[in-house]
């Protein structure tokens, strides 16, 4: 279910998702404020409060104790929602967007990543606001104003809760990043086991034997294979590679497969690069291309790969021979993309009339 939702989410155009990621919280804030001022909720609530019997001194004193006040305010918020449901969105929206803004632009910047001075500054700022709210709460204990003041305390509690939650969410993200590097470490260990000297010396021996025997295709094939393996061994040690290197690799990879399949006519691939420097994570595209090539029976696989103005676009069209076109390898690509370009990519796969298309867009700026 979540997977389907995510796939659905990845279909929304990149620009829209990026905009929402950055400015969505301000949109919610704005709409909430407008809703709050336009809404006529106060009228209902004032009417309700006036309809309730006046409090005696005892109740008023009880109301001054903070524990009681918290409970009273909570009840008040619930009542507000019941009596003025049209105010629910502005309230929730305000609470959420203010918490996000507080976390994203203040807590994170001044407390988690700041120095002691900035932390003290934030503390002073928070204290001033809360002290103001507190003073308000003491002088106006009863009636809607007093209650509104107490709501500030509820907001504080909510901001803190949200801050703690967001903090752990971010830590989790970092941990996932570490897992990714962990996988990288495993890969490195695996590479160390396949001693590259042994591997390439062996390949060179096969190459030499084939060469002296007078063949054409074998030395050529060994040469190509060596280049492919070498690239995979060397480039995966870095996080990002030059787009020119990756394009050459993809081209050679497709060439090699084409020869392997011995169906020269069935694979057609074209490239387009504006020759502006750009960086890519290595070997990100090959699982997708590999998958397309594997599906190729006697029908054509076409692919276009373009990198223009820091935007990568890969389109693959291939026969959908297996009932489920989503393989484990592609799921891995999805996960890698989610991790590397969280809100900067779209990957769509569709099957229409037994023809599968995969389309990947990545915004490479970062």
């Amino acid at each position: 279910m979540i997977r389907q939702l995510r796939t659905l989410q990845e279909r929304i155009p990149l620009s829209v998702r990026q905009f929402w990621h950055r400015y969505g919280v301000f949109v919610i804030l704005g709409v909430s404020l407008i809703g709050y001022w336009l809404g006529d909720g106060e009228r209902y609530i004032n009417a309700y409060l006036e309809s309730t019997p006046k409090m005696d001194q005892y109740t008023q004193n009880r109301l001054k104790s903070s524990g009681y006040k918290f409970g009273y305010t909570l009840a008040y918020i619930v009542v507000r929602f019941v009596y003025a449901p049209e105010q629910a969105f502005p309230w929730l929206g305000l609470a959420w967007s203010l918490a996000v803004i507080n976390y994203r632009y203040m807590l994170k910047r001044f407390v988690f990543r700041g120095n002691w001075l900035s932390r003290a500054g934030y503390g002073l700022f928070a204290f001033t606001i809360m002290a103001g709210a507190l003073a308000n709460a003491i002088t106006l204990t009863t009636g809607p104003n007093g209650v509104n003041a107490t709501i500030a305390w509820w907001l504080l509690a909510w901001f803190m809760l949200y801050g703690i939650w967001a903090y752990f969410r971010d830590i989790n993200k970092t941990r996932r990043a570490l897992t990714e590097t962990g996988t990288q470490a495993e890969l490195t260990a695996l590479k160390a086991q396949v001693n590259p000297h042994f591997l390439f010396n062996s390949l060179n021996n096969i190459f030499g034997t084939a060469l002296t025997e007078g063949g054409h295709r074998t030395p050529d094939g060994v040469q190509q294979l060596s280049r492919l393996i070498r690239y995979q061994l060397e480039q995966t040690q870095t996080q990002r590679v030059d787009v020119a290197d990756e394009l050459r690799f993809v081209d050679e990879y497709v060439q090699f497969h084409r020869q392997l399949l011995a169906r020269e006519q069935t694979v057609s691939f074209s490239y387009d690069w504006d020759e502006q420097p750009a960086l890519l994570p290595p070997l990100l595209l090959t699982p997708l291309i590999d998958h397309a090539l594997q599906q190729a029976g006697d029908t054509t696989v076409t692919g276009t790969l373009s990198v223009r103005q820091q935007r990568l676009h890969l389109q693959l069209t291939y026969p959908a021979n297996s009932p489920n076109p989503d393989s484990e390898a592609i799921e891995n690509v999805r996960q890698r993309l989610r991790f590397l370009y969280p809100d900067q990519h779209t990957l769509n796969q569709q099957v229409v009339n037994r023809v599968a298309t995969a389309e990947l867009h990545i915004d490479l700026t970062s």
């Binding site: 060179n204 190459f207 030499g208 034997t209 050529d220 060994v222 394009l247 050459r248």
Partner: protein, 243 residues
């Protein structure tokens, strides 16, 4: 003519070097060695111009060979082309008197490029020894071998008029001959001497010696069709001729 030897602990790797060297007219491969110590002893008595050596060998490494080689009677230093299975030693190799650095399996195109480089350096040093100024007018590299299918085709750079790119292929127009190879235009440009070749358009490189006329939006090369000239390259092209 460059005299050379090859050192590698794997006999078949030596076969590869011998196979390639036999195809290069200016290389004279004297002998090959499986044992680097024997090779050092040989070099003491028979100095050569160029040594192909593997880096990773059991007793002493190829880098040691370069280091241990005593300076010969002649003032000329022996040039080295290092070969290796895996590229960890690249940086170290270039610190020494290395002309080039080849990874195995060595394909002929790359081998030839390295050999040409050694030949150029040899020529430059000969000129310097004779007290002559380096010749800038001459095309330093006279031929280029490009891969056409499984074969390498020789292209005479003096005769090469222009290069056109289409998709993943490059077309070399040499006189009436046309050679098609799988290469990007950036790769093609890097293999041509910058002193005589210049890019004038997204998909064209021309030989400056063969330009007959520069018009506003095109250049005329030989008696072929006019070649489009991008505004971005126009100023640079004109500047090249003003020098």
């Amino acid at each position: 003519m460059l005299t050379c030897i090859a050192i590698d602990d794997e006999p078949i790797a030596l076969d590869v070097v011998r196979f390639h060297a036999n195809k290069v007219p200016f290389l004279d491969l004297k002998q090959t060695f499986v044992n680097a110590v024997e090779a050092l002893a040989y070099l003491r008595d028979n100095p050569v111009d160029l040594v192909f050596t593997d880096i990773n060998m059991p007793d002493i490494t190829g880098l040691d060979v370069a280091r241990l080689l005593p300076p010969g009677e002649s003032k000329r230093q022996t040039m080295f082309i290092f070969t290796t299975a895996y590229a960890e030693h690249a940086v170290k190799g270039f610190e020494l008197n290395a002309v080039d650095y080849l990874v195995k399996p060595i394909d002929f195109g790359r081998f030839l490029q390295a050999a040409n480089r050694a030949n150029d350096r040899y020529d430059a040093e000969t000129r310097q020894a004779a007290g002559q100024a380096p010749d800038t007018r001459k095309i330093p590299q006279t031929t280029l071998f490009v891969k056409d299918g499984y074969d390498y085709v020789r292209i005479d750079l003096a005769e090469l008029l222009f290069v056109e790119s289409e998709g993943n292929y490059l077309m070399f127009y040499e006189g009436d001959k046309k050679v098609v190879t799988r290469m990007t235009i950036a790769e093609g440009l890097s293999q041509l001497p910058a002193s005589h070749f210049m890019r004038v358009h997204k998909s064209y490189i021309v030989n400056l010696k063969h330009i007959d006329k520069i018009e506003r939006h095109q250049v005329l090369v030989g008696d072929k069709l006019p070649i489009p000239l991008s505004p971005g390259y126009r100023d640079e092209l004109l500047a090249r001729f003003k020098q």
